[in-house]
């Protein structure tokens, strides 16, 4: 059996003002698996991702990537993870290729050629004329694609996506899902926080619903079967908080 690539073990975060943002959340994601975290704003989805990137320290529990504790050994853990944020802004004065080159080198890929960058950008669906275009002229969909290209070029086994489809038009959203399917086929473990129930049902191998910092439901694609995920989500949002088994 495969070892979990992304693992949350009783992950808890309480801020200094006393707010409990995350309450003993546990899950694991295997290579080649997509785990979608659903939940309203403030449910704790982004906090979970921030803990995996060691942007904030956990109050209790562990966030692990490739069996490395993200808080105790963050630089080692981050070698195995690529991150795509909700609004991929990048460096506006740089071209798409220059941005890709910078982040590739930051990720340790020093010997990639222009051709390699062009190939990855073509893979994510960017048009040729955009390769040497300044990123400040890009639409949100194009920036999102470039963000995915950055994650792809790092070639990390774990990918964290923080609401990557928010604000994308239907075509760009569909292309994005296509990309995720290809990354999944390459064996990447993907954690995606999202509001998008429909796309989650389409792509996720497992879905978790978060409410008030707790993971109140966790189901596999098989367990969900023909269940209406939207109805399930709304039921959980209206019901009291109970932790998922």
């Amino acid at each position: 059996m495969d070892r979990a690539m992304i693992q949350a073990i009783n992950l808890t975060k309480r801020y200094e003002d006393g707010l409990l943002a995350l309450d003993h959340v546990s899950f694991e994601i295997l290579p080649g698996e997509v785990f979608c975290l659903l939940g309203a704003n403030g449910a704790g989805k982004t906090t979970t991702i921030n803990l995996f990137l060691d942007f904030i320290p956990p109050t209790e529990g562990e966030a692990r990537i490739n069996d490395t504790d993200c808080h105790l050994n963050p630089l080692e853990a981050k070698k195995y993870v690529a991150y795509v944020s909700e609004n991929v802004m990048l460096y506006g004065n740089f071209t798409a290729r220059q941005n890709l080159d910078f982040f590739a080198k930051l990720g340790g890929k020093r010997h990639l050629s222009k051709k390699d960058y062009y190939r990855v950008m073509a893979e994510v669906g960017l048009e040729g004329k955009a390769f040497e275009q300044r990123v400040k002229e890009f639409s949100k969909g194009m920036r999102q694609k470039l963000g995915i290209a950055i994650a792809m070029v790092k070639d990390a086994p774990a990918i964290l996506l923080d609401e990557p489809t928010s604000g994308l038009d239907p075509k760009a959203g569909a292309e994005f899902l296509d990309l995720l399917t290809r990354l999944k086929a390459q064996g990447k473990a993907i954690l995606m926080s999202t509001h998008d129930i429909f796309r989650s049902k389409e792509i996720a191998d497992r879905v978790g619903i978060m409410k008030e910092g707790k993971l109140v439901m966790q189901r596999t694609r098989e367990e969900l079967g023909h269940e209406d995920l939207q109805k399930l989500y709304l039921d959980y949002m209206e019901a009291g908080v109970m932790t998922a088994a």
Partner: protein, 276 residues
């Protein structure tokens, strides 16, 4: 493609120094701010050296006339000493303005400013001398802060900070490399302009720099490096602690005015008051 990429080597600390510092340098080079600042720097540096060089020539004329008058004549007691203007005043006036040019040396009266003392005509009598020292102290420090104020807060606002820190790089390493790249952006063009001006001055027959002048100039280079590093570091620190770039800019402009003008003037006044 991916398998080929995955064979590449991992990141090392030395490698990341270059990557972030180069990015920082390139990011500034592509901005309008950089070109405006470099143009202002070049114009002011050129004007400053032109004005100060003319001032030096005037001082030399006065010096020559005083030397002529100071030659011992029959019936005069004692001797007269005349101080030559320093060549480096084209870069930094220093104490030359307040220095008395001629001294009478007598057996009983000791050394006293001579009655022939001629004041140097100054174009900028009401202002601070527009020398290189002033340009570094006020303008270059301001330029350093203008480049540093959004070094971290700008990345926070644009969302790139999370992407960069999502890589295997610590916050300290990131800040240090931003500092290096930013300092290179400010200091490299300034030192290049300075050296260019120096090369032009060296060709002037009236300004024959000696070895000790060049040694002093090296010290001025070093002091500029340290001074601007301190200001740029302050800018990066405030930028990292501020919620927004606008807040960082306001605070840094206040600190610049305080550190460059208010504190030195207030200290001098306090000292004079205390000594009196």
């Amino acid at each position: 493609m991916m398998s080929r990429i995955s064979q590449d080597t991992g990141s090392t600390s030395d490698h990341l120094i270059g990557v972030i510092a180069r990015k920082e340098l390139l990011d500034h080079l592509l901005s309008l701010k950089y070109h405006v600042c470099i143009l202002a720097m070049a114009v002011l540096l050129g004007l400053s050296v032109f004005v100060m060089y003319r001032d030096y020539l005037l001082r030399m004329e006065i010096y020559a006339s005083m030397r002529e008058r100071a030659r011992p004549r029959s019936g005069e007691a004692g001797v007269m000493a005349v101080v030559e203007p320093r060549r480096l005043l084209v870069f930094a006036e220093g104490l030359d303005e307040v220095l008395t040019r001629g001294y009478a040396v007598t057996a009983y009266g000791g050394i006293q400013p001579h009655e022939w003392q001629t004041p140097v005509a100054r174009i900028f009598a009401l202002f601070a001398p527009p020398d290189l020292l002033y340009i570094v102290k006020a303008l270059l420090a301001l330029i350093a802060l203008l480049f540093a104020y959004d070094a971290v807060s700008g990345e926070k606002e644009s969302g790139t900070l999370k992407l960069v820190l999502g890589s295997a790089i610590s916050r300290g390493q990131f800040a240090a490399r931003k500092l290096m790249g930013g300092l290179a952006t400010v200091l490299l063009p300034f030192f290049t302009l300075w050296v260019a001006v120096l090369l032009v001055l060296v060709t002037r027959p009236s300004l024959a720099f000696a070895h000790e002048d060049l040694a002093r100039l090296s010290l001025m280079f070093l002091a500029t490096l340290l001074y601007i590093t301190a200001f740029y570091s302050l800018g990066v620190l405030v930028s990292a602690l501020s919620r927004s770039s606008a807040a960082a800019l306001v605070l840094l402009l206040f600190l610049w005015a305080a550190l460059v003008f208010a504190v030195p003037n207030a200290s001098l006044r306090s000292l004079r008051w205390y000594a009196w």
